[in-house]
Symmetry: C3
C-alpha cells in the first residue's frame, strides 16, 4: 500500500504535478502515424498529460504538435485550413508552421511587430515505429534534445511489426501495474476451473504453459535492475525438476514488455501514456525480429489477440466498461475464469474496476506483488528527484531501451541472472546494441 | 417550512449524516429477492444511503451484502466468480463468504497472518416478504440484532401479496411526504374539471369516493401516535350527514400505508429507501390478508395500477422525468387533472418536480399539511436524539409494524379514535399481534 | 485583450453580476411569440440571464413570465393547468395569474391571510415584432417602465419581416463580437482560395462584392457614436478609385445589424440574449421596409440563409458542435474556406470554438478589431456606472433603436459621416423617427 500523498504523487500527471513533469522529460507517444495519414490532411485533436493539443501533418509530411488556440482572438485551429506548409485559422487567416511560428498575419499592418514575433506553443515531434512521439519537456535547443527510446520494434522494417493502441478509462499507473503483475495470469486469463488442462510432456507447448501457470498461483519473483528500469522474473513449478520462468521488463517511465514469448515467437510490449489522470492510451506493439509478420497474424491482431484489444476506428475497445465487457456469466461458469473474451479486455476490466484512480491506501499486498512495489518505488524516486532539481538520466540512454522479455524453462536452482543469460544472452535482457 | 439546517438534517442520509445513522438503526430493504433469483447467480450492484455495495446469493441460498472492493489491490468483486459458497475475485483469486470472511487467498504464503484475519465489510441480511433486508447499523452480536419489522404483507403466504419497487429521482423525504399527504388526492389524481362525477348513493363505490374527494379539497386532519409512528385520518364530507375518512400510517423511519382501502379490498404500502440524497427506491407492496391475489390482479399490477408504477426490467418507471412522464396536454384539458397516466406516475412527477432535494425554506404550509409537519418533527427528533446518544426504540418493536390503513364512512361527529376502532378494531390500526 | 477582471465583468450575467444587472435595465427577448401559439396552451420553460422562468399565454392571450416554483410545497408549475386566466398547480390546486397574484388557494382556510397576499415572482412582458420581451429589472410602477426598443422590423406589418432564433453554446459577448467584426468576412465566409472570383464591372453585384471583400483582408474602420450605441464602417478597396463600405450597428446592450444590405435589399439584425454564462439565444430578424417578403424568400430563410441558421423545432442549429458542423474537409480544400455550409453556421463554429467563455487575456488584437474594442468599452462602462448607482439612459430612448445598416460604394476620400448620409440620409443611420 501507499500513503495518500504517495498515491497522489504516483498518479497525478497533469499541470505542474511532479509525476507529469517527470513524464515530460521522456519522449511520449502522442498518436499513431496512421492517424495522420496524409500531408495537408485533417488535423488531429489529442490530449496528453492533461494538455489539449492539435497535431497536423504539413505539406512536406512533417508533424506539428501545437496549442490549438489562435493567439489573435482564441479561435480553435482545429477548424483551420492545413495548407502550404502551415495551419491557417479560418477566422482571420493567421497561419502557423509546424514549429508554431506565424507565417502569415493578413489582417495585421505590415509595420506591426506581430510579424516575426507571433507564435503558438509547439512541441518537437519524431516518428518512430509507426508512432508520433513528442518531447513535452522544457524548451531546449534542438541539439540538446534527447533521442526517442530505441524500443526494438521501431528498429525493424515495418513488415516485422504491428502497432496499435487502445484507450483505457483509468489512471495510467494501475494499468502498467497490471502489465507488470505476471502473477494474475494464474487467474484472470485462465479457463474456468471445470475446464481440464494438460501438462503432459506430449501436450502442445501452449497447453503445457497454461497448465503450469494454472497450477502454481504463487510464483516466486526475482528482480534485476538495469539502466532504464528493471526486469522481473516469475518462477513457477513445471514438470519434474523444471521451473517455468516468465520475465517482463519495466522501462522508465511507462514502458513494459510481456512474459510469454518463447524463442522464435512474437514479442509484445506496451507504453502507457496518460491522457488525463483518469484515462490513458496503451500503445501496443507486436514484433518479430527474425521475419515479417504474416497476413494471418495481422488479421488475427486486427480482431484482437493477446494483449492487443479489439478496437473500433477511434481505438476504443469494443468490449468496454459501458457494455460491461460483454461479460457472459454462463461463459464464466463453464468456459473462462472471467466470462470476458480477450486477454486485453480481461486486463481492462480488472484495471478499470480498481476505480478511476486506484486507492492504494486500502491495499493488502503480498509477495507476488514484488514488481508492483519496485515499479512504484522507482518512479516515485524519479519524480521526487526531479522535483528536487535532479533530472532523470534515462531519457539520455535511448539505446538502453532495446529490451526483450519472455518465457524460459530451466532446471530448478538456476539463478535468475543465469536464466536471463540463457534466454536472452544478457543478464537483463538487453539486445547487443544496448549493452555498451 | 423548515429552516435550512433542519432541511439538511431531514434529507441527508449519506456518510455520517445524523439521518443516515438513524436509518441505519432500522432494517432497510436493499433489493427484491427476485433480483437474486438463484444460488451462485450474477451478483447485484446496489447503493443504499449513499454506500455502494454488492449483494450475492451463495450456493446455499444465503444472501451476502458486502463492500465490493477486494482488499488485495482494489478490484471490483462484481466481476468475481460466485461459486462454492463464496465470491472469488478474478484478479488473484481471493475469495470471501457471505459474512465477509476470507475463505481462500491462493497467492498468499501459508504462514501469513492474512489467513484468518482478512475480511471485507459485510452487513447482516434477512429475506422477508420477497425483499432482502439489511442491517446497516453498528456491528452487533447476532443475538442483539433487532428483527425485521413485521409488516403484514410479509407474514402472509406469497400467494397473498405482490411486491415490487420503483426508482424515483429525488430525495426520500419529499417522496414519503407525498405519500403521507392524502389531501392532494383532491387534485393530482382527479379527472379534468370538465369530467362529471357521480356521488349518488346508487353510483358505484369508486365513483362515490372519487366524487367526495373531489368536492372537498380541504379535508380535516386528525393524528394519533402509536409505538412506531402515527396514523393520520383525513375527513371529507360525503353524502348527507356522513363523513368519508381516509387513513394512512407512517412507521419509522420511512414506511407508509395508503388510505383508500375499504374492507375486503387490497391493502397497499410502501417503504422509501434512500439510494443517494437525490434518488430513492420506493418498495411497494399490495396484499390481501384474506385471499390470494388473482391472476388478473397480478397482470394489472404488472402493468402499473394505483401506487404501483409501470416499470421496466430495472424497475425504472417507463413514464419518467426524461420523457416528461408522457404528459399529454390534450388529456390534461379534457380527461385527467395532470394529463399523465397512472397514480404512481402522477406522484413521481410532482415529487421529482420539487427538485432533487426540495427546498423547504420557501414553503407556505397549510392546515392540510398536518401529517407532513408531524412526520418531519418525528424523524428529526429521532435523528437528533440518536446524535445525542439516545438510540431509537422502534427498531426493537418489530411486531408493532403490523399495521393497516384505509377508508371508512361514518356519521358526522364520530371521533377519529372511534373511527379507527370501527374500521380496524383498534384505535391506531394495529393488527392483534401488534397490540401486546 | 482584457484583464481577467474585465473579462469576468463583461461575460458574467447571472445572479447579481453587474453585467446581468445592466442587462436587466433593458427589455430582453425571452421567447418567440410563435412558441406560445395559443391561449391556455402548453407553458414554456425558459432561462434568461441564468434565471429559470416559466412563460404561459393565458385565456385572454396575455403572456405571463413567472417563477415556476409553487410557494406551497415547491412543485413545478410547468406541470400545471393553464386555464381560466391563470396557471394552476396540479398538486393542491393553487392558481396564479400572469401578474403572479394568487387567484385560488383551495386547500387554504378562508380566514387565512394567504388569500390576498400569496404571490409568485412575475415579470412584465410585451409582444413586439413576433417576440415576447420581458423587463427583468427592479420592480417598478407600470407607468415608469421603459418601453420596448423600437427596432424597425417590429414597426412593420408581419408580412414584411421574418423572425426566428438560434441557440449558441457560448457566452453572449463573443457571439456579438463575431457580429460586430466585419473583417472576418474576408476569410470565414469566403470560397476556398482555389475558387476564382470576378470583380469585373459586368459581374453580378454579389460576385463583385465578394471579390472586393476577398481581395482586401484588412479593411479600414471608422466608428461613430449615437444615442444607444455606435455604427462601425469597414472600408475596402473596390474597382478603380471606389471604396466599398460595409456598415454595422451596435445598440445597447446586445443588438446588432448587418453590413451587407444594398438599397432595396432585405435588412438583417440580431439580438443576443444570455441563457447562462455559457449559452445564448440569438434572435435573428429579416425585414424589408418597402414590401412584403415573398414566399420564396420565406422558404429560403426557413432552410437557413445568410445569418439565419437552419434550425430544428427547438431552434437548435442542425449543424452544430455535437456534429462538428458537418465540416467536410474536401469542401474545405476545394469549395469553401471552412468546409461548413452556411454563414450562420460558420459564425457559430468559430464563436463556439473560442471556448464556453472566451479567454480575452490571451488575445492579440489588431486594428481591424476596432469595433470589438469599442463594444467592450461601451458595455463595461455601462455596467460599471450602474454598479456605482448610475443607471443607463438608453432604455428610455426606445425610439432611438430605429436603425439601419448596410453597404455602399463611394469615391475614395469620402468621410464616413458623409457615407452614412448618402446611404441612410443620416450620419448615424437613424430612421427619421429616431432623429428627434
Amino acid at each position: 500500500m501507499l500513503n495518500a500523498a504517495d498515491n497522489e504523487l504516483l498518479t497525478r500527471t497533469d499541470g505542474d504535478q511532479p509525476m507529469g513533469q517527470y513524464f515530460r522529460r521522456f519522449w511520449q507517444p502522442v498518436a499513431l502515424s496512421a492517424q495522420l495519414p496524409e500531408p495537408d490532411g485533417t488535423p488531429l485533436r489529442l490530449q496528453v498529460l492533461g494538455e489539449k493539443l492539435l497535431a497536423f501533418r504539413d505539406t512536406q509530411g512533417r508533424v506539428g504538435l501545437v496549442d490549438p488556440v489562435c493567439p489573435h482572438r482564441g479561435a480553435d485551429l482545429y477548424y483551420g485550413r492545413n495548407e502550404d506548409c502551415g495551419l491557417r485559422c479560418v477566422f482571420h487567416g493567421w497561419k502557423f508552421d509546424v514549429n508554431g511560428k506565424a507565417m502569415d498575419l493578413p489582417n495585421v499592418s505590415p509595420d506591426s511587430n506581430y510579424h516575426g514575433e507571433m507564435a503558438i506553443k509547439a512541441y518537437p515531434t519524431r516518428e518512430y515505429g509507426g508512432i508520433v512521439w513528442a518531447y513535452l519537456g522544457p524548451q531546449t535547443e534542438a541539439s540538446e534534445l534527447p533521442e526517442v527510446p530505441r524500443l526494438e520494434f521501431g528498429e525493424l522494417p515495418e513488415t516485422h511489426r504491428y502497432v496499435t493502441k487502445k484507450r483505457q478509462e483509468c489512471n495510467w499507473a494501475q494499468a502498467i501495474e497490471g502489465a507488470l503483475d505476471t502473477s494474475h495470469f494464474s487467474f484472470l486469463h485462465m479457463p474456468a476451473p471445470s475446464v481440464p488442462s494438460n501438462a503432459n510432456p506430449d501436450a502442445p507447448a501452449d497447453e503445457q504453459r497454461l497448465a503450469w501457470i494454472r497450477r502454481d498461483p504463487m510464483p516466486s519473483f526475482s528482480i534485476l535492475s538495469h539502466d532504464v528500469g528493471f526486469v522481473v522474473g516469475g518462477a513457477r513449478r513445471a514438470g519434474g525438476n523444471s521451473i517455468y520462468w516468465r520475465m517482463a521488463h519495466f522501462a522508465l517511465p511507462s514502458h513494459s514488455t510481456t512474459p510469454s514469448t518463447l524463442p522464435g515467437e512474437n514479442y509484445f510490449g506496451y507504453t502507457f501514456v496518460p491522457i488525463t489522470d483518469t484515462a490513458c492510451w496503451i500503445y501496443t506493439y507486436v514484433w518479430n525480429p527474425d521475419r515479417p509478420l504474416s497476413d494471418e497474424e495481422r488479421t488475427q491482431l486486427q480482431g484482437g489477440h493477446g494483449v492487443v484489444a479489439e478496437v473500433g476506428p477511434d481505438y476504443l475497445p469494443l468490449r468496454n466498461k459501458s457494455n460491461e465487457y460483454l461479460l457472459n456469466r454462463m461463459d464464466q461458469k463453464h468456459r473462462t475464469f472471467t466470462g470476458v473474451h480477450g486477454v486485453a479486455e480481461q486486463d481492462a476490466m480488472i484495471q478499470e474496476s480498481q476505480g478511476a484512480i486506484a486507492d492504494r491506501t486500502r491495499e493488502h499486498l503480498t509477495a507476488t506483488d514484488a514488481a508492483i512495489v519496485r515499479f512504484r518505488r522507482t518512479v516515485l524516486a524519479g519524480a521526487k528527484a526531479l522535483a528536487n532539481g535532479d533530472p532523470p538520466q534515462a531519457p539520455l540512454l535511448h539505446e538502453s531501451y532495446r529490451l526483450r522479455s519472455g518465457s524460459w524453462v530451466a532446471n530448478e536452482g538456476t539463478p535468475f541472472e543465469e536464466i536471463m543469460k540463457e534466454r536472452f544472452g544478457d543478464p537483463t535482457g538487453r539486445m547487443p546494441a544496448a549493452r555498451t
